[in-house]
């Protein structure tokens, strides 16, 4: 049974979402502010954070950034659909995925399960590409000997791309393979995630060796 840390300031929405998540079979801890959420995560581990963007005090983006500094815990943003600043801001802060409010419980459930699935392990030997070492068995990624900490979505993106080196994946395909979104998913999710991944594994992000852009088509791993 996975544990969800729910961060939502509106009391009715918090109560409703907590109730829905419990009925879906999750353990739930609820926080009404970003500060409370950060304290909670320090005290006890959670499996996934569902984080509202609009919070009093520390806003959702800042909470996400601080969460990311310490861990790879999956983060799903709860956004209002005012404008796309919410979505882009969340992605840049390091969120794995987002849902828009009001959200139906089954949709939230699907997103949580998809994000938790991203960290499934396989039995394969470690693969080396130049300075990069990818171990699918232990889900450890190393660059120039150093461990690279990757949240589940970035990790899964790297695994999918490197699983078929040189093959071009379209944004649409990646949305389906990595995020399990339907064909209408927002391709900016992919772009933002690629940028974050490059920042961690590329020596020179302006000339990426591992995650390459193929204009008009999508992305591919290598050739290194």
């Amino acid at each position: 049974m996975a544990t969800v840390l729910l961060v939502e300031d509106d009391p009715a929405a918090r109560q409703g979402l907590e109730l829905a998540l419990r009925r879906l079979g999750y353990g739930v801890r609820a926080a009404g502010t970003g500060e409370a959420a950060l304290r909670d995560v320090r005290d006890a581990a959670a499996d996934v954070v569902v984080l509202d963007v609009m919070l009093p005090g520390l806003d959702g983006f800042e909470v996400c950034r601080r969460l990311r500094r310490g861990s790879d815990i999956p983060v799903i943003m709860l956004t209002a659909r005012d404008d796309d600043l919410d979505i882009v801001g969340g992605l840049e802060a390091g969120a794995d995925d987002y849902v828009t409010k009001p959200v139906e419980p089954r949709v939230l459930d699907a997103r949580i399960r998809a994000v938790l699935r991203r960290t499934t392990r396989t039995d394969s030997p470690a693969e080396t590409y130049g300075e990069l070492v990818i171990d699918r068995g232990s889900l450890i990624v190393r660059r120039a000997g150093q461990d690279v900490s990757l949240p589940p979505t970035e990790l899964r993106l790297l695994l999918v791309l490197s699983g078929s080196p040189r093959q071009v994946f379209s944004r649409e395909q990646l949305l389906s393979l990595v995020w399990e979104h339907d064909y209408l998913g927002d391709s900016r999710l992919v772009d933002a995630c690629v940028q974050r991944l490059r920042a961690k594994i590329e020596t020179d992000t302006s000339q990426p060796r591992y995650i390459q852009t193929v204009r008009g088509f999508g992305y591919r791993f290598g050739p290194v």
């Binding site: 409703g16 209002a80 409010k101 009001p102 649409e172 927002d186 391709s187």
Partner: protein
């Protein structure tokens, strides 16, 4: 106006000429002082000129000579009269033309037009009145525009606020609905609440979408999309397997995939709900006559067609052509949103009736198509 003035001048001149000729007959035998005599009978040298050429006793100049002189004199006078008429009409006509041009510019939308009045006559008064009217109109229209902007802002704000209580309700409504302990009225009540909460969600979402168009914050997120693939998935995702679509394979265009899906889903949904089967969808690329290409998608049904007086209002917000069908699954904003989505792409949607019956909606979007990718092979997507 000018012609009328010229005619008036010429008529007056003719009457004056006839009157003076009568006058001449009357005073013929009178002896007039020199200057008056010259004025009435013509100067002495002119009479001598006539006599010299005629070469006849003074009282009977040759007929044809007299006619010639008369012709010349009449011609000169006519020219003078017409010039005088035109000159006299200019100060009247010029301001009138300026007024007409100003009124035209105002009708075209420029309410800041004003004219400088000259002088103090009736025309100047007309110009001053015109300026006053234009100023009043500009103020009124400005006020109306501000009111409309406030109303749209309000609609957007209200929808945003509605989202918060809706979040809690959406999260728990199915708990009520699925509760096994409820029976009879309570079960019906729970089911109603469940459906209406979801309906409200859709309405709020549509309202927010529309308010984004109004506020100018709607953005295009474009990608190279395979038209046949996107259209096929649009139909299959909604279970519309009895809609037939003829779309060229391999047609790749640069569009906003989500918005394109919304347009298509709305048109096909309407065709199925308000029209009748068979519903067909066709797509293709067409040159736009200016060196570019357009993607044209036509959705046609075989129902009763659109009532002609409804057609100009179809894309209005909350317009319901059939008032008996006041209750619908949609929000009443579907076509308005589709229209705005097309417009955001720089395209448009036309609605009309097919000549063989049924309604037909045609979407036209400017794209940079890859004609080379069109394999010429039509793909049957469903059915």
């Amino acid at each position: 106006m000018r012609t009328r003035l010229i005619i008036a001048f010429v008529v007056v001149a003719l009457l004056a000429a006839i009157a003076s000729s009568w006058f001449h007959t009357l005073i013929e035998s009178y002896h007039l002082p020199g200057w008056l005599d010259g004025l009435v009978r013509g100067p002495g040298w002119l009479r001598n000129l006539v006599l010299t050429y005629a070469g006849r006793p003074p009282l009977q100049p040759a007929r044809h000579t007299a006619l010639v002189f008369f012709g010349v004199e009449a011609g000169v006078l006519l020219a003078v009269i017409i010039t005088a008429a035109i000159a006299a009409s200019r100060p009247v006509l010029l301001p009138v033309q300026r007024l007409a041009r100003a009124a035209q510019r105002m009708a075209g939308g420029d309410l800041s037009v004003r004219i400088q009045p000259r002088g103090r006559d009736e025309l100047a008064q007309l110009v001053t009145s015109f300026n006053g009217m234009a100023a009043a109109l500009e103020d009124k229209v400005g006020e109306l525009e501000r009111m409309e902007a406030r109303a749209r802002q309000f609609a957007g704000d209200v929808s945003h606020e509605l989202r918060t209580p809706l979040t809690a309700m959406t999260a728990v409504t199915d708990i009520l609905y699925e509760h096994p302990g409820l029976a009879g009225d309570a079960a019906t009540a729970a089911r109603l609440v469940h459906t209406e909460v979801l309906h409200l969600n859709r309405l709020v979402e549509d309202l927010i979408e529309i308010s984004r168009f109004d506020a100018g914050t709607a953005q295009l997120v474009t990608d190279d999309i395979d038209v046949a693939a996107v259209m096929g998935r649009c139909l299959r995702a909604r279970g519309w397997t009895d809609v037939s679509a003829d779309v060229p394979a391999g047609l790749i265009v640069r569009l906003d995939r989500r918005r394109f899906d919304i347009i298509l889903a709305n048109l096909v949904g309407n065709a199925l709900r308000h029209g009748a089967l068979p519903v067909t969808v066709t797509a293709g690329l067409q040159p736009d006559g200016q060196g570019g290409t357009r993607l044209t998608v036509a959705v046609r049904d075989h129902g009763d067609g659109l009532p002609p007086d409804a057609i100009p209002h179809l894309f209005d917000r909350f317009y319901k052509a059939d008032t008996a069908r006041a209750r619908s699954e949609g929000s009443g904003l579907g076509l308005a949103i589709a229209w705005e989505n097309a417009r955001l792409h720089g395209g448009h949607i036309d609605a009309g009736n097919h000549r063989d019956g049924g309604a037909i909606f045609t979407v036209s979007l400017p794209v940079n198509g890859h004609p080379a990718a069109v394999s010429g092979q039509m793909v049957q997507l469903t059915g």
